[in-house]
């Protein structure tokens, strides 16, 4: 064989969940190849996606691969051959900015990271003033990707303007929303990007310490992030940042299985070692956050998008998008779909394009019934709303939210009364307990939906009233937004709430 041969087998949790480790095991002791455990390209329906590269040639994709496929893949006769990875239709249609390196590089190789554009943004930031960095991020139009969509530059400006002996950058990696995995894929596939983004945030606002609050449900991401931080520290990326004399260091902290700890003030309490109860605002975390100090709390994707903004410039990022939703969004396509996974694209595709075109319809082949966008607090969209363009204001205008950009598809067998009940049950299980409408209301909600399920139509107005009470009387979006999935299910799929009645009669 001439030249070196590299085989890529993802270490991403989804690839592993589908057998990637068994595939990698067959290659580990093969002297003819170099095995790289990369992140996932995001086409989960093709995982484990094995890539073969000879010398500097194109990477050739094979998938979904099993250990038994490896001999044929190595001698070029496999019927799992898909052609060059970069030419796959799903890759060509994406605009990969935040995820430009995910699936491409060895996630834990800093040299590979730099060879693919890593640290360009940080080096530029080191030559800028804090104010200039904040302005650049503000000009990019980047809005928080954790759900609320608050402009990142404006948040940073508040923290930058606060006087304090210590400030913090806290990355919210609690990613509790069902149907979302962009944070996980980024942390497993390109952890240095998140570290670089946090350092730039630190330079921008004058913070020298950072924490990543990472959910315990992500063992693979925890491992990748912890290793990456170690490597960053020994290579002089963390500490005295690239020998610049500017200081920044960070730690990975593990959550303990509470959904509400994704809410930023609950997260701060949890990080401080308290019960993860939501704090009333004001004070804003930007002014009185972790241990009472000015704190940036940003989602993984918000922070991991900062390096590419600094690398390519605010205008490059801002030029993508729709209306007030600028740049790209990593869509996470999940549930009952043929082609599930991560698809980074400019804002503005319609929900119908996403579900029919990109997701390729349902996995079961049955017609789509409903699509939940934005996690467990997001509304269920019926087919009649498929022309809604993917953007913050556009979804808000349709009584929904894009949240962390999870798109969960259900086929016609879905029982929407059951989904409404689950939303209430989830709220009851995960409530932090501070507000009565959330803590007690959610339990009543389950009971009320059960009454409806037994054919008691008189309970429907009770459910509507209860949802109003929860909306008005809840401190945070857990209690306040649970009515969205519940009411959207009731409004758009009334038959599912009447069926039980017919059966009873």
């Amino acid at each position: 064989m001439t030249g070196t041969r590299t085989i890529y087998v993802p270490r991403d949790a989804a690839a592993r969940a589908l057998g990637a480790d068994a595939v990698a095991a067959t290659l580990a002791n093969n002297p003819d190849v170099t095995l790289v455990r990369n992140g996932s390209r995001g086409m989960i329906w093709l995982e484990p996606l094995v890539e073969v590269q000879d010398g500097d040639g194109p990477r050739m994709a094979y998938g979904p691969a099993t250990a038994a496929d490896i001999p044929a893949i190595l001698d070029g006769t496999s019927d799992k051959a898909l052609g060059p990875t970069d030419d796959l239709p799903s890759m060509k249609r994406q605009t990969r900015l935040t995820f430009q390196r995910v699936g491409v590089i060895d996630p834990l190789c800093l040299r590979d990271y730099e060879a693919h554009g890593g640290l360009v943004g940080l080096r530029r930031a080191l030559a800028m003033s804090g104010t200039e960095i904040v302005t650049e991020v503000t000009d990019s139009g980047l809005r928080g990707r954790g759900g609320a969509g608050f402009p990142t530059g404006i948040k940073w400006n508040t923290v930058a303007g606060a006087e304090a002996t210590q400030k913090y950058i806290i990355c919210n990696a609690d990613e509790g929303d069902s149907g979302t995995f962009a944070d996980r894929m980024l942390m497993e596939g390109d952890p240095f990007t998140l570290i670089e983004g946090m350092i730039i945030a630190g330079l921008a606002v004058g913070a020298t310490r950072g924490y990543v609050y990472l959910r315990s449900e992500y063992p693979d991401a925890i491992e990748a992030m912890q290793e990456a931080v170690e490597i960053a520290r020994t290579s002089g990326l963390l500490g005295d940042v690239l020998g610049s004399g500017r200081l920044f260091d960070m730690e990975i902290r593990i959550g303990a299985g509470a959904y509400v700890c994704g809410e930023e003030t609950s997260l701060l309490n949890s990080l401080e070692g308290k019960r993860g109860v939501v704090r009333a605002k004001p004070p804003l975390p930007a002014l009185e956050g972790f241990l009472g100090k000015p704190t940036v709390v940003n989602n993984v994707i918000s922070l991991a998008t900062v390096p590419v903004i600094l690398e390519k410039g605010a205008a490059h990022y801002r030029d993508f998008g729709l209306g007030r939703s600028r740049g790209t969004i990593p869509l996470q396509i999940a549930g009952n779909v043929r082609q599930g996974g991560l698809f980074e694209t400019a804002f503005g595709l319609t929900l119908g394009e996403i579900v029919e075109d990109i997701a390729g319809g349902t996995a079961t082949g049955r017609p789509v019934k409903a699509v939940q966008v934005g996690g467990p607090l997001g509304a269920y969209f019926p087919l009649s709303k498929f022309d809604t363009p993917f953007g913050y204001e556009e979804f808000d205008g349709q009584g929904g939210l894009i949240g962390h950009a999870g798109v969960v598809v259900f086929d016609e067998t879905a029982d929407m009364l059951g989904m409404a009940r689950f939303a209430m049950e989830f709220c009851a299980v995960e409530s932090c307990g501070k507000c009565t409408p959330c803590r007690i209301g959610a339990v009543r909600g389950v009971e009320t939906i059960d009454r409806i399920g037994r054919g008691d139509a008189a309970a429907i107005p009770l459910l509507t009233d209860l949802c109003e009470t929860m909306k008005d009387g809840s401190l945070c979006a857990l209690g306040g937004f649970t009515p969205f999935p519940v009411m959207s299910a009731l409004t758009h799929f009334p038959d599912d709430f009447a069926k039980a009645k017919e059966a009873a009669e």
Binding site: A13, S178, G257
Partner: protein, 159 residues
Amino acid sequence: MHSAQAPADLSAQVAAICAAHLGREGPMLPILHDVQHAFGHVPEAALPVIALALNVTTAEVHGVVSFYHDFRDAPAGRHVVKICRAEACQAMGANDLADAAKARLGVDWHGTTTDGSVTLEPVYCLGLCACGPAALVDGVVVGRVDKARLDAILEEAGA
């Protein structure tokens, strides 16, 4: 449960875990994770030791432990099977899968089989939503878990 006097070795071990984290900002959760890792649960007897180290009341430590789903007050079975209950997995049949698991094990959520082999836990999303139904078996991710796959998993766990 009355607050039992901690056996000396447990106290010493917990105190050592606390000492390792005391220099950190917000050491409580890292300590609790390590204690659970060491003992398989957070023993009642560990709470006063942690309280003393962190200069808070035992009631406060108890309040924190009880808030989080991850911390258990009794050891789990030899294997812990977590099945995702969240929406994307439901769209792929997670409810039926969970029912099958409960029936085969003869337990409800959080239950441990009588022979102590398996504890069944619900989990709300593992980030494997494009290959559901998903499960976490002793910390290892598994995707597209159908009934056959579930049977194989439980078989291997000895249940």
